[in-house]
Symmetry: C2
DNA sequence: CTGAAAGCGCTTACAG
DNA sequence: CTGAAAGCGCTTACAG
């Protein structure tokens, strides 16, 4: 109710106690008598006192701030993840300093620099990887890093992903069982672990059945690139009867492109995505897709990061969380199909 | 390249200069000789020194942190806005502490408390309003607040919105000119200024032509509520030939519901939304809608906030930015229609 | 241009 | 349980 520049010393004077006493009242777990607590709280309320988190951070060496680096928010998987991530962190008393970085090492280096300057306790990157140099900087500053939805073998960084290789395999077997014989792939960005792993698992499972993708195009996790890929696939002499698309975000663009072409789905071509974002369940798309269990991925991310913050010796973790194939209307369902 | 706990004193000692000198080298605009600068930078680089932003914030009284409060990320208008907002702020050297708050005053009070404790220089709320009590707390702490995409008359808070009343009017006139005579409304949440204003402008323009909406339902900015509203509207004895939906997010649900019902759009009923999120342009929805000029809204938000941070006497601003009606396929276009 | 000193607002041993 | 004192890492008048 007052000036905004009220310090613990002001409260101490008003209550006729020491600054230490005020501090203890606002430090959970510190030992103060009932009388002291009452006196201090009364004065604090009257003055509108609120401990300065920055000062506290300086002295304790813990800012309770987590740096979050996000590349793209147009893929609807990330807004959902971000929402959950921030709730999970807020619940545990952490705060989020958020940075949008387009996926260039230059931009990311700048962001990491800012993050370290603000003394964050830990860093989460979503769909962003870190150069060895940057990873080393964080390590030498003692700041743990967890990669969300991206892996980076050999980086010494923890990562949480879905089981992408297995997921790709599930899609291949599902399409094969459905009788598809010309199976194309509009892959996720091959510069990312997720794009590579899904593609790898997909191709491997196909090969186990003596097949190959009839075509593979890198969709770059981009709508326009993916739509263009779909058009060129369908324009060929012998178009595919199924397309595995590297994520839902691109799959929607593919579905729109096929609709514009007048190609019936799944009549002429089955389409399968990856992620199971909310929109995949909407009537207009009704997309068969592999679910990334975002809740569990977020939980694992937060647990892993906080464990490393609390115990610096905690080993690096690479966690993969399996998700089911969700059957909807965009792909032919084999008779009596069981997952 | 080193320990992570390197301070300006360490650099000073290594360079054989004073701590003040080190500080000046890292303070843009401070006066240091070339020689001094070189000596200090060399030592700083060798030690891997990075000024501690928290300590700097304490001493200068400027944290260069902006608090951002966001309610929902499932409406795709907000991820886009958030992306732009954070880029605009990053460019100007500010950092974002982000909080998700469901729209209850309780949650918001907690968030504001945290924000003030972290000594943010200013606060932006997106689709969230502040109780008078909370607004007063920010004011007494000297922290400016700007409401993005929400107004709050009488709060003494700056706000940036699109011209919602005018936008609603545009939709009404467009539908009237298109020959629609039974025009219903699935309004935005009537507890929000945006929902109220769009609805008010819409009804007023209808009345100028001697008409009334044939039905009005509050869609609560919620997909399920909106879809249910669409179904009940179409189930009536005399269903509408046009529906104005309070935002695109709900309009997509309405379109999905109509499709499921087999109601042709715009054959049997025209649908108009509000926002012009990217998805509105996608082939599956092709939604006629009023554009909220998100870039200009973001620019205005950032300018207004920073102006108030730099000059505490800067008057409160309520800015409304006009946006065009974007014609697409979901609503009948009048012959020779001009905006 | 440069340095010594004070101080931002807090927490935390250390005594009592 | 309580208080006096030191110190977190910086910036900024104030002298020189």
């Amino acid at each position: 109710m007052s000036d905004g520049k009220v310090t613990s010393l002001d409260v101490a004077r008003a209550a006729g106690v020491s600054q230490s006493a005020v501090s203890r009242v606002f430090t959970p777990g510190a030992s103060v008598s009932k009388t002291m607590e009452a006196k201090v709280r009364k004065a604090a309320d009257a003055l509108g006192y609120r401990p300065n988190s920055l000062a506290r951070a300086m002295i304790t060496g813990k800012s309770r701030i987590i740096g979050l680096v996000v590349a793209y928010l147009d893929n609807p998987f990330y807004p959902v993840a971000l929402e959950r991530l921030s709730h999970a962190l807020q619940e545990r008393g952490y705060h989020i300093l958020i940075f949008m970085a387009n996926n260039t090492q230059e931009a990311i280096a700048q962001v990491v620099d800012d993050l370290l300057a603000y003394q964050v306790d830990g860093i989460i990157t979503a769909s962003v990887s870190l150069s060895g140099d940057l990873a080393a900087q964080c390590a030498s500053a003692g700041i743990p890093v967890v990669l969300f939805n991206r892996g980076q073998p050999g980086s010494g960084l923890s990562s949480i992903t879905s089981a992408n290789v297995e997921g790709g395999g599930k899609v291949a077997r599902f399409l094969l069982e459905g009788g598809h014989r010309r199976i194309a792939q509009i892959a996720g960005w091959q510069g990312s672990s997720t794009g590579q792993d899904r593609s790898r698992g997909f191709v491997a499972a196909l090969q186990e059945h003596g097949m190959e993708p009839c075509a593979t195009i890198d969709g770059m996790y981009d709508r326009d690139t993916a739509a263009q890929a779909a058009r060129s696939l369908m324009a060929g002499a012998d178009p595919p009867d199924a397309i595995f698309v590297g994520n839902d975000h691109m799959a929607f663009a593919v579905l729109d492109a096929l609709r514009a072409l007048g190609v019936p789905v799944p009549g002429a071509v089955s389409v399968v995505g990856y992620d199971d974002v909310p929109m995949a369940g909407w009537a207009s798309y009704d997309l068969t897709t592999v679910r990334q269990p975002v809740n569990r991925m977020v939980e694992a991310t937060v647990e892993t990061l906080l464990a490393q913050i609390e115990d610096a010796d905690r080993p690096v973790q690479k966690i993969e969380i399996d998700g089911p194939l969700i059957l909807r209307g965009s792909a032919r369902i084999p008779e009596g199909y069981k997952q």
